[in-house]
Amino acid sequence: MAKITLKNLRHSYYPNPKDPADFALKEINLDWQDGGAYALLGPSGCGKSTLLNIVSGLLAPSDGQILFDDQDVTDLPPDARNIAQVFQFPVIYDTMTVYDNLAFPLRNRGINETEVSTRVTEIAQMLDVNDMLQTRAANLSPDNKQKISMGRGLVRDDVNVVMFDEPLTVIDPHLKWKLRSKLKELHQRVKATMIYVTHDQIEALTFADQVVVMQEGEVVQIGTPVELFERPAHTFVGHFIGSPGMNVLPCELRADAVYLNDTKIEIEGPATTTNAQTYEIGVRPEFVTIADTGLAATVHKVADIGRHSIVEALIGEVKVSAMVQGDTPQKGDQIYLNFQQNQTRLYGDGWLCSTAKGAK
């Protein structure tokens, strides 16, 4: 187990990158604490798998360093880094039994059979696969195969980090939930540093203590699930996390007050920059309410999603979603919207630029 540090890490798949657009990863600086559960979250193609493969050593970065406990491992091959990785599709050795599969990483490292047997039995217990140890791995169901892949990563007790690359992609929905809680449980038991790559926000938010949100090769925000939800550092995070995502409304910053279609909007606190090119208001649908006075809007669409409804309304040309409980207006109705002030933020050129009242 180790602390992982990424220093000025950049990567390009082209031999001679010039343009910043040539880089799949643009300048990443990160610290992952020993024993933490982290998620790398972002849309497909944002560079999260690239980053993972660089940490595991399957890919050499174009620039920068990777440190495990302050030791430079940038030039070490994967097997010398002592890491484990679980892939999107279960990787199992077809001809071996489940037992031999789990024992494989240990035997390759010349560990004696008595210890192999103790470790394998222990891991099999944790994963609930002890009754299938003698079956051929090829005959297992996909979720059990993926459990075995995880088991091969966890069987070594000295791994620096266990990495998961969208491990639940091929798993049936009702088993996803089971495996997810299994993973969480495993993390608490083995206390290894774990990094979980996914584009599914629910997976990321339920698994991780800290979520790293990435977009186009850059880290946009690192934070706890609550922080990401409440104070997205970038409109992208606001959009990407939450269902539906944050309302992002173009606005104007005049003499230190914010105007949406010439209506003054109260935001959480003063703006920190005044020289951004564009300004936007960010407010989550959870904090938009329908009231008797406020911003005039026309109801455009109402969607019932169970416990509450999503009302989509138009303020002029701008679409705003509100989460409403109880009675909902009809399509075409004129309504008035209120934004809860302490949850209404200002974004300049995409980045958060309002400070909360009372914050330093």
Binding site: P78, Q85, V91, M96, F104, N108
Partner: protein, 287 residues
């Protein structure tokens, strides 16, 4: 009792007719010949299983069968590992992939009798490139029309040259279908190159290799044209394989009965070996 409409059987009729004409009827004429004796003039005499008995007791048949198994065994032992080795060393991506594939496929595109003629001329001691080089430059006495060993080396080499590509292409197809994640996982698990070969590449290639071995077994067991053009079964009878012997009996001596009996035994051996092999190889996949 419920009355069934039996008209659906008519739909099976075309297939029945087709199979009858392309397999059953020709096969039955052979069965018919195999139990009779003829002296021409379309006069046939009942012979029972006599031809089968005689054939199975004849040294000539035993020798030809032995040579056939030796030939097939040798080319399988050489072509399968060699094919896998070449496939493993071929590039997986980039400019050289099509170049390698086309180069590999070339020998297979040459007609059988042309291959035989090519190798015949190639190995002639006085004018063939190889023959001249061996005899006159290296000073090794190499003449496949005189020396049985030279003849065997030549037909084996020829078959390896002609057909290893098939194994290569099948093995290569098996190799490229292995997802990268397997290699990455093996690297992380600390597996050696040998372990990767043994536990990933061979199991993933198993199905295509089964097909490769089956095809090479059937083709080489039934081989006729190339050795016929190359050595004609000689020197002496040293390269007279089953098919060459069969043609000698059927068309050289016009012994229809013995030839028919031999065809049936020949066919039965090919079928039996193929069936046994295939059943053994796919046994694991069934449960």
């Amino acid at each position: 009792m419920k009355k069934h409409n039996q008209k659906a059987w008519l739909f099976v009729l075309p297939v029945l007719i087709l199979v009858a004409f392309n397999a059953l009827i020709p096969m039955m004429t052979v069965v018919n010949y195999s139990v009779q004796e003829t002296f021409g003039d379309n006069l046939f005499f009942w012979e029972g299983l006599g031809w089968f008995e005689k054939l199975l007791r004849s040294d000539r048949f035993h020798d030809a069968l032995g040579r056939q198994f030796l030939f097939t065994g040798l080319i399988l032992i050489i072509e399968i590992p060699l094919g896998i080795a070449i496939a493993l060393s071929m590039p997986r991506k980039g400019f050289w992939v099509p170049v390698c594939l086309v180069t590999m496929a070339l020998p297979m595109l040459i007609p059988w009798n042309v291959v035989g003629a090519m190798w015949n001329i190639f190995t002639l001691p006085d004018i063939g490139l190889l023959g001249y080089f061996m005899n006159h430059t290296l000073g090794i006495n190499y003449d496949m029309t005189q020396d049985p060993l030279a003849a065997w080396i030549t037909i084996i080499t020829m078959d390896v040259w002609h057909w290893t590509s098939l194994v290569v292409l099948l093995a290569y197809a098996g190799l490229v279908s292995i997802p990268d994640a397997y290699y990455q996982a093996a690297k992380i698990d600390g597996a050696s190159n040998w372990a990767v070969f043994r536990y990933i590449q061979i199991p993933k290639m198993k199905n295509v290799l089964t097909i490769a071995i089956l095809l090479r077994f059937m083709d080489s067991f039934n081989i006729y044209t190339e050795p016929f053009v190359l050595t004609g079964g000689g020197p002496g009878n040293s390269t007279t394989l089953l098919s060459i012997d069969l043609v000698k009996i059927a068309l050289g001596q016009f012994d229809l009965g013995p030839a028919a009996a031999m065809s049936l035994i020949y066919f039965a051996i090919t079928l039996l070996v193929s069936w046994l092999f295939y059943t053994l190889m796919t046994k694991d996949d069934l449960n």
